[in-house]
Symmetry: C2
Subunit: 408 residues, 2 copies
């Protein structure tokens, strides 16, 4: 095969990128778990019938579907909400109620990659299912804000609205979607598109929305957020024009922005949706959730330099001076690992030292240890700091201490 490449919209994650992903995933998991959200994993393939008709016309087109070896029509995970609905119906009382779950898995959508979208990407969702209280909305909102703070964002800000405000106005789904584009296309364009859609008093409606007051539910949610130490108009704010694209929301809706960058960036969104989780159980099952824009979060963190500098895991490369001195190098690397220092032993006893040091450099390994005949006779080792480009001979027994000191 001459055409050695990945499919359009699909990505390899080489070590540096993969470590960043893992760092974000682990940080998020930690905060989710600290509040009692539990992990759920569902299969990559489901019966196509289960997913079909759940994602609208657009979703139907983008879904990866095929017939498996047994002639079944199957589809690849398109989101994590419909599988959650299946799980809730299928396992019923085996799950606690409320069921607070997080799910971090890949989904697949045959989207247009020219819009900067990927066809395989990671979704990261938290949802609280089976309870309909403003306190549960506030919890999900607070988790999302605090998660971003934990990752190092200084100014995450949740914009909050209530979908029922729109519902009172008898707007069509299409009209709500137009208002949702306000951020991108501006007020004038929104009004003109609303008029085109048949809405006569578009301008008045926008003015009315702008001046509307938060609902009782929102007032309650804001109060709970304040009690959890979050500050109104800093950490969160009332945003009466926020509409959110998806049409299944039934109450609160919210979108997380970051003000850390020169431009405003959305890091995720969510809301209350009381009619979706029960589609299979055929009864109303209330739910509220938030979806992090995983790629966006990573991209913003890279721009803001929020990743720890020591994500490269190996701290020390123990080099091999010559084949007959290998045993000494094995011993030193064993010793370092016992002291919880991530240590790599060079693997070819016949390599030149130069080659070994180049390898350490390429892998961003900070320290190299050299053990030659002079060192062995004086029970010392040479500790080379590849960052400061300095080196010194230290007693073998004190090597760990020296490394830890420099690192501190």
């Amino acid at each position: 095969m001459d055409n050695l490449q990945t499919l359009k919209g699909f990505r390899d994650f080489l070590p540096e990128e993969s470590r960043k992903r893992q760092y974000v995933i682990n940080s998020l998991k930690e905060i989710f778990e600290s509040l009692g959200f539990e992990p759920l994993e569902t299969p990559t393939l489901e019966y196509a019938e289960l997913l079909q008709g759940k994602y609208g016309e657009e979703g139907e087109k983008l879904m990866y579907k095929f017939q498996d070896h047994g002639g079944r029509f199957v589809a690849m995970r398109y989101d994590q909400t419909v599988p959650l609905a299946r799980v809730v119906s299928q396992y019923g009382n085996l799950l606690p109620s409320p069921f607070k779950r997080y799910q971090i898995q890949n989904v697949w959508r045959a989207d247009n990659t020219q819009r900067g979208r990927f066809r395989e990407f990671t979704q990261c969702d938290i949802d609280t299912v089976g309870i309909n209280t403003p306190l549960s909305d506030a919890e999900v909102i607070a988790v999302a804000i605090n998660a971003m703070k934990k990752l190092g964002f200084r100014k995450p800000q949740m914009w909050i609205n209530d979908r029922s405000i729109f519902n009172q106005l008898n707007l069509t789904k299409a009209q709500i979607m137009i208002i949702d584009k306000l951020d991108k296309i501006g007020e004038e364009m929104v009004i003109s598109q609303l008029e085109e859609s048949g809405l006569k008093n578009a301008k008045n409606i926008i003015t009315h929305l702008k001046g509307s007051a938060p609902t009782q539910e929102l007032i309650q949610i804001f109060e709970y957020l304040r009690e959890q130490g979050l500050v109104k108009n800093e950490d969160f704010l009332f945003s009466p024009l926020l509409a959110r694209g998806l049409d299944y929301y039934t109450g609160s809706i919210f979108e997380l922005k970051t003000l850390d960058l020169p431009y405003m960036l959305s890091l995720g969104g969510g809301g209350r949706y009381n009619n979706l989780i029960g589609i299979f159980a055929k009864k109303e099952i209330p739910a509220v959730g938030f979806a992090f824009g995983f790629d966006r979060v990573l991209e913003a963190m890279t721009q803001l330099n929020l990743f720890p500098s020591n994500l490269a895991s190996t701290e020390v490369l123990v080099t091999i001076f010559s084949p007959d001195l290998l045993t000494q190098s094995i011993k030193v690397s064993q010793k370092l690992r016992e002291e919880n220092i991530n240590t790599e032993l060079w693997l070819d006893p016949s390599s030149k030292l130069d080659k070994q040091l180049k390898y350490a450099d390429q892998k961003n390994i900070r320290f190299a240890v050299i053990i030659g005949p002079d060192e062995i006779s004086s029970d010392q080792v040479v500790l080379k700091d590849l960052t400061s480009k300095t080196q010194k001979a230290v007693p073998a027994a004190e090597l760990t201490g020296h490394i830890k000191n420099i690192n501190d």
Copy 2:
């Protein structure tokens, strides 16, 4: 849809199971990273052309293949080795050499589920690519043994052989596969099947193999293992009849057993394969690797009770006595979280206490905190230990200390 279920061979992982999986994955990653193995992720879908012809007739049949929206023939990841070969060819000098990577992702095979196999399962591989030294074989073997010890296995044991011993005997691939079944079908059956396959001196060959001595390469590997503190005939042994099913091995082959259970169980296997990674680069690229049988490891750990008892992450449920006392409960839960105690706040201010405690029970939350009017007036809280079924009133300021004391 009345037929609410997962596809045959595909699994949901509910929180308890998902946590076990995460625990094993995180433990393995930690040891891999401590030795300088780096994470790699490759896409779920690849060009079918890239995977075809790499897994033999059987693999061809089991691979999930279909045409995507653009008419491309695509296939789902079938293993992690062919994608590694693609990555090594595609990124070349961007990767360090040797390239030591680990990869823990799902693969898909439309296998017969009656044989206890799953169609979606997690593979966990480590490989060292680009170097052909016994020291690199020894490292991979040692990592695998030490990883199992770290997970709590007391008697993991690596059986080691050299594929070149078979190569000298001019056995066919089919004949090697027969010998590989020795564990399962016994010596007599192996000899009879070998004879059927056209081998005249089958019995002699088996006797010859049994009496064969380790190759120079194996002797060297054993020496390195000993220098890393591993004990021959305990942690590892020479197993002259070990053949390993896959036919791409070119040197050392090894299989990890556990003697912890009443029956012998294989936890994974690997070996040196110098002709596979270079298939796309069209040159020889040496490699040695090990694949953990992820499901097997989990199953054995469950049987041996090797999972920590506190895998359920929430330690405390802060209950809500009545709607007007909610603020107190919010404050206490905030405080506990600040002290790094994973704490859940009940989410419905109007629930009866009984319901809240049942929830804590179902989620295996050990402590419940109750804050009623009496407690508030005396600045106390009631700490209920759901394990010992005892409770006591403690000063609010000392709550964290009490919980940490009981946990110790």
